[in-house]
Amino acid sequence: MNSPWQNYIVGFRESLPAVLSAAPFGLLFGALAIDNGLTPGEALLMSAAVFGGASQMVGIQLFSSNAAAWLIVFSIFAVNFRHILYSASIGRHLGDFTPMQKVLAFFLLVDPIYAASEFRIENRQKIRFSWYLGMGSSMYIFWTVMTGIGALFGSLIRNPEAVGIDFLFPIYFLGLLLGFRKRPNWMPVVIASGLGSIVAYQTVGSPWHVSIGALAGILAAVLLPLQNDPQTDPVPLSGGPEDMG
């Protein structure tokens, strides 16, 4: 049995691939946050307090389109909604954690940590708090530091369109979306949301196309015949670089 410090180091080391994959997106988030009108301090606060890459990207895009405050908050909630399933699943395996350790652990429950935890459970290894903290603290520190660096450089970019910065969002989200393609109902959901959002975008206008399109997609999934899926633990679809949080 390893000491807590050794477990921490193991967790820290296991986080490195995920940290490296997420780092460019931390930089990107910092730069885009500035481009979308946030101050460097606000960008840092958002990374430190929300700690969820995809939802932060969604959030700042809505910031720039002057969406209503509740819609920004709700959209971030919607993008992070899957974490409810993660915490439901992982929560059953944190028996050794004290209540305070759980309070901290759930704050750090981003996709790579969820995936690594499920992997340990699969291999009948105990999830120890020291290991979990090693992985979580590493991801958290690098994510906020990268945001800060990105924000500093982001303010230096004078003409974002010429260097394509304004179009990185759609490309980024497209990659994120393709990462979910193994999920049941993916294609019908994407088609329904895509058509719904384009129609809403042309008629009602931005930012309503987000909620209207999303509802269309969810409705499509609910109306489709149920598939037999014995799997109960939600597994993240890609352990790839696309999703930090």
């Binding site: 910031f63 490309i171 979306l177 393709l178 994407v190 975008y201 790839g240």
Partner: protein, 105 residues
């Protein structure tokens, strides 16, 4: 966004509210579903559809609001994204949009 409340800007309050709801998603599943052994299948299906449904709405308008350069880039990225790692697709897409715009497409 403007207007201060308790000395903090609206942006700050939105970020803090976003942090609270995000924390709720990370803790809430444990609190709520720890008691329920089985999530109703339809609810489960709806929850599973949420990420793809929301993210699609952020990509789709790119097909109608942009010009030819934007559409070519998105279509190429879809094809590349099915075969290449996300980061590679992302970088190629980035280069493409800059090049296509600079040659005036």
């Amino acid at each position: 966004m403007s207007g201060d409340f308790l000395g903090l800007s609206a942006d700050i309050w939105i970020i803090l509210a976003a942090a609270v709801v995000t924390y709720f998603t990370r803790f809430g599943g444990y609190l709520i579903f720890a008691r329920i052994k089985n999530i109703p299948p339809r609810l489960n299906v709806a929850l599973n559809a949420v990420p793809a449904a929301v993210i699609t709405t952020l990509v789709a308008p790119g097909f109608v609001q942009g010009g030819i350069a934007e559409i070519i880039t998105l279509v190429t990225c879809i094809i590349l994204g099915l075969r290449l790692p996300m980061m590679v697709m992302f970088l190629i897409g980035w280069v493409m949009i800059v090049v296509l715009r600079s040659i005036g497409i």
